[in-house]
Symmetry: D3
Subunit: 136 residues, 6 copies
């Protein structure tokens, strides 16, 4: 079994804010990330799939097709967007890197062709902070 990873990138605004809490409590918990006027990031998204190389191509899966699927189902929905306001699959969720990675997994997974196994979503919010999610 081989693990194949593709990097895609997107830039987005967001805010960490729990609407069940007061502004003061949000400020206390989330600090400057709670800024009501938003802030943003360049996100690096690493999508890893796994499988055996096909004897005709040597590919687990055509990485150009993988890129196209990620761009169509994920990047087009979140790039140059406000994650809290513009993204249907994040509606009603706290926009942490953790929840965004889970949201991307759930959105991408059913859109992969039969036989292409999603292994992990690795998401960098900054070069110093990233999360990894393996599903389930």
């Amino acid at each position: 079994m081989i693990y194949l990873t593709r990097l895609e990138q997107f830039n987005a605004a967001h805010q960490l804010y729990n609407s069940d809490w007061s502004a003061a409590k949000n400020e206390e918990v989330f600090g400057k990330c709670a800024n009501k006027n938003w802030h943003g990031h360049n996100y690096d998204l690493f999508v890893t799939i796994k499988g055996d190389p096909h004897p005709d191509t040597g590919f687990v899966f055509d990485v150009k097709k993988l890129s196209k699927i990620i761009r169509e189902h994920i990047v087009s929905k979140i790039d140059h967007k406000n994650l809290n306001m513009d993204v249907d699959f994040m509606r009603g969720k706290l926009c942490s890197t953790e929840n965004l990675a889970i949201g991307i997994w759930n959105e991408l997974s059913p859109n992969l062709p039969n036989g292409v196994l999603l292994h992990s979503i690795k998401l960098y919010e900054t070069p110093r902070v990233f999360v990894e999610y393996f599903g389930g």
Copy 2:
């Protein structure tokens, strides 16, 4: 003469939008960068000063002090902010990387100690797009 550079980083939301234009014209010129709900970036800011090393320290200038000055006068005003709404020195200006670099130069320059010469502001909006400004 030696050139000394310090990297600082900040994360911010912004929008490219000319308020003299219609929404349609903004969309046409700025594309997805005109998103009314904002988007954002991790910016890399390289500040370069120049001078001769001081015989007592071997320093053009103490890089920790340089970092402190940049953080106090620039990063504290733009990190985790909305560049269009929250930043006094960008008020009324188009929030392009070009204008932000010029704004940072103008803000930082008078706050450097006597004898510390600002050489350039190099500002990365993404790893693929950056500007450099040498003043004047």
Copy 3:
């Protein structure tokens, strides 16, 4: 148990081409990667071994020796080479990143000293595409 990784790098030409297919079919499946005149990459090769640190050295294995083994058995055979034409262990195989990683594993594994356990081969074709192989 500790996992120790060494990065080596090589530059090579290759082509994705299935000789059982017509040129048109190759063009359809592999696109510009099928260019009959070749193209090439700077590959990053991360070799990971695992074990317990030896009490006398603190090393799982001397990383300089590991580097020497990788250079002797792998890099010398593929650096500044044509992967399809010049590399004995890729003869008759499709030169995908997947197959190259498997080929490197199979070539390196028997050349490691007794007790040095190969854990993974991670191979970057570009900064945006990489594969990982754990053997078997």
Copy 4:
């Protein structure tokens, strides 16, 4: 379950030297790393914890608090230090990257709050050499 990683950095001097051996034997085994006058590195330290995102915050754990804990319990003890001479938790140990990673795990692990699970310590000595430790 989500894996959350934070990068911290430190700069330190060290030496690879087994005091049970002669200088000649140290030179033979460790080469220039045995230099009696020390050498040094910029280390990159990736700390990974794991858990489920909390429903109120979307966080496995507040990454700013994680950073503060790493700085207090690890970075403050090893940054701008001599690893062989200045660091209590490395006393009497060979200062290999392997042993330093294990030392960091043992030092950090009991200082994480209840419910925060340490998953791995990944430590880069140079961009070409790193180790990973998962405990136990």
Copy 5:
């Protein structure tokens, strides 16, 4: 005046070979770079233009248009190509990084719109070797 830089990337095969020389002389001068079966690289191409930001946009020039021009006039001709065989503007030239940078300047310069000033072509053959050309 502001300097604006855009990074584009391409992957290509090439060979360093002077056809006026014997194979032995080529081997002596160019070493493994003279491999008759080619080798290749991931090239990083930084194109820098200069000018004053336009008052209506804040742009020296729309970086998306710059990217489109570079892709149309340069990348489409060299990406996934053999630089010695497939590239019209390198015909009859030695395929050194130096000559390739000059070739790119000469090809790109007349295809920039009036008023857009090309400042430099910076071309990385590997992360350790790059050239910069300012024209003339």
Copy 6:
């Protein structure tokens, strides 16, 4: 004219300490960089030369020869060394990045072949701090 740059790397220990001052004054000015037991860095050294490509090779200068000269005259003297104690060309000098860059220029410049013009020494102490020196 073309500018050609080669990256070499070295790891070294050092200390910022002015022996004309008291320990307290050193601590006040240099902070943790004055640690009497040393600390260290992975340095990145970018050497840039300039000239016209030779018609027979396409090279300003053979970059492998440039690398060999840098390794022989610079890296061999400072890699895995204590900059304050082991390096003849830094004797009696404050080991700031500025002074090290000047020292490298002065050491390298006379060892370049006739007609090879040294343009700059760019020296990274960390990814966030670097200096550049153009001679004179």
